[in-house]
């Protein structure tokens, strides 16, 4: 009975997220238009630059990763932004739910949407630009996807903390974090080309290691031995820290009256 109650509370956020996505024409744009544009533009650029097939794959992996993370984290970020935009934040926080229900519920929808984007972009890359997505095998693909989703979760949780602290003003963070990853994690270039100082920063981000590990299936040397282990270790650490930060922000919001201000 208790488990069913918990699952129902999680489903509340998942079902709501699905309904909003179904009614929002921009959700279709988010899932198909922008990822499609990204694959076409990046793919055609590689053709213009006459890159060899391995390098094309290197760049396309970055484009797929970027869009998958972006879509997956948006559902998490939106889970509270919906309430902020509609000034209905009180409904959620006066009910006997916790942040886990919000994160898992909205995260599940993000996971499904992110997986769809990954599949669509992967298929387009294979069909149009000859990328061989099957080379890493099922295990390699599964670990890479898991890594992408966990990175999306970290971003989503951080954005939620910012939303609870700054409300509307944090909207920009829902998009900005992913572009920061684009810059730092070597989505379109190896991190070795980053200037000193920035490179060390890249090494603090788990996505760097997941990309490193996935690309080695395509013949690129591993920059970090045990990249997958580093990636998951850092992910676990950041997930714990970001969740603690979110809990702290919620408590602080209850102290500062932010929940009320965001519902007015």
């Amino acid at each position: 009975m208790k488990l069913r109650t918990e699952l129902t509370k999680i489903w509340a956020f998942a079902a709501r997220s699905l309904l909003v996505n179904r009614r929002n024409v921009f959700a279709v744009f988010e899932m198909f238009f922008w990822p499609g544009v990204a694959i076409f533009s990046v793919g055609l650029l590689t053709r213009f630059l006459k890159l060899d097939p391995e390098t094309v794959t290197f760049v396309l992996i970055g484009a797929v990763a970027m869009n998958t993370i972006q879509i997956a984290q948006l559902d998490l970020s939106y889970s509270l932004l919906y309430d902020v935009w509609s000034k209905s934040l009180k409904h959620g926080f006066i009910a006997p739910i916790n942040l886990g229900h919000v994160l898992v519920g909205a995260g599940l929808v993000g996971l499904v949407r992110g997986a769809l984007v990954f599949v669509v972009m992967g298929l387009l890359s294979m069909w149009l630009f000859g990328m061989d997505l099957s080379r890493p095998g099922a295990g390699g693909l599964a670990f890479f996807l898991l890594g992408l989703f966990l990175n999306a979760a970290i971003i989503g949780v951080l954005v939620l903390a910012l939303v609870l602290r700054f409300g509307h003003r944090a909207e920009v963070a829902a998009w900005a974090f992913s572009y920061l990853l684009l810059l730092l994690c070597g989505l379109y270039y190896p991190v070795s080309v980053l200037p000193p100082g920035i490179r060390e920063l890249a090494e603090l981000i788990p996505l760097t290691y997941f990309l490193d590990h996935f690309r080695h299936f395509y013949g690129f040397p591993l920059i970090t031995p045990h990249a997958l282990g580093y990636g998951f270790a850092l992910t676990g650490l950041y997930l714990g820290v970001s969740y603690a930060l979110l809990l702290y922000t919620l408590r602080s919001a209850r102290r500062r009256g932010t929940l009320l201000k965001l519902s007015e």
Binding site: R4, T5, E6, T8, K9, W11, A12, A15, R16, L19, V20, R23, N24, Y82, D83, W85, S86, K87, S88, K90, H91, G92, F93, I94, A95, P96, I97, N98, R251, R254, R255, R256, G257, L259, L260, S263
Partner: protein, 312 residues
């Protein structure tokens, strides 16, 4: 019977801006609300009503003091408490793109309702608040009155033992406001649900509340029944008598229910605690004294006067 709300020494202040000074919104507020009643918190805008209600509904953590609602501490046992209370805020806000039914379903799921239980509860609420014809209308397309009805319907989704209504009739036209007040009274009468509401509308408080507390600048100034408060402050209904030959030689101050009196020629003005109860005995006493009364006029106590007396 045990009170459902016991608050002691509640203090809340906010900082204005990053480095601004702290502004005290609640100052040492003590409150007890008996079970089964409709209790009103009255006060002007900015008095601290919403802050008080937000603390009692666990949305806000007080700086000092403690409050127990339904026997549970609002800070330490907040999660357990949330399952047993509900709140309708002064303005109804729901996700704009969800329909009436979808919004109710979402709120029901937040309390763990699912399957047939959820379906039945949603149907019941749609019927109770006459929302069935609008069930598939998106929230953004509802009229203000319907939005407010949805907000009230949502508050019953978890069969709460205690309901908080924060200025429930704000923004409604007089007919809809009256309809909502009748709905609140019916809920209390038929289910015995305890309701705490905030309002700055004295007529509303008089119609709905058995007991009220006046809040101003974060301080609780007075509490009790409206009639008791009026009597305590010497406020009451006005009885204006015009005599044919001047007032009878009576000790008017000693007549039951007379709070004050003033003679002016052939006219006598009395302030009574309750005119509807005192009028007949007074007229009888005058008749016994042989006074000829040419005109009797009763003017109900001006509630604004009570408001002014207490809050200024």
């Amino acid at each position: 019977m045990e009170p459902v709300i016991v608050a002691q020494g509640l203090v809340k202040s906010y900082r204005t801006g990053w480095f601004g000074a702290r502004k005290t919104v609640l100052e040492q507020v003590d409150l007890e609300v008996p079970a089964g009643s409709i209790f009103g918190i009255l006060g002007p805008n900015g008095a601290g009503k919403t802050t008080l209600i937000s603390i009692l509904t666990t949305l806000l953590i007080p700086d000092e003091g403690e409050a127990r609602v339904l026997g549970l501490d609002v800070v330490r046992q907040a999660q357990r408490l949330r399952a047993r209370i509900n709140l309708a805020a002064s303005s109804a806000h729901f996700l704009w793109c969800l329909t009436v039914e979808e919004n109710l379903r979402f709120c029901g799921r937040l309390y763990g309702l699912s399957g047939g239980v959820l379906r039945k509860k949603v149907e019941e609420l749609l019927h109770l608040f006459e929302l069935s014809p609008h069930r598939r209308v998106k929230f953004e397309n509802l009229s203000t009155g319907l939005k407010q009805r949805l907000a009230l319907a949502k508050t019953l989704v978890n069969d709460p033992e205690l309901l908080f209504l924060d200025e429930p009739t704000t923004g409604l036209d007089p007919i809809m406001a009256q309809h909502l007040r009748e709905e609140i009274l019916r809920l209390n009468r038929e289910t015995g649900l305890t309701i705490l509401l905030t309002t700055h509308n004295l007529r509303e408080a008089e119609m709905l509340c058995r007991e009220v507390a006046f809040l101003k600048d974060g301080r609780l100034l007075a509490r009790g029944g409206i009639k008791e408060l009026q009597a305590g402050l010497g406020l009451g209904d006005h009885l204006l008598l015009t005599f044919t030959d001047g007032p009878a030689p009576l000790d008017y101050a000693r007549l039951p229910g007379v709070l004050a009196h003033r003679r002016d020629g052939r006219r006598l003005e009395m302030i009574l605690d309750r005119a509807e109860v005192r009028l007949a005995p007074i007229l009888h006493a005058l008749e016994q004294a042989g006074a000829g009364v040419a005109e009797v006029r009763v003017k109900e106590v001006d509630l604004e006067e009570l408001y002014r007396e207490i809050t200024h």
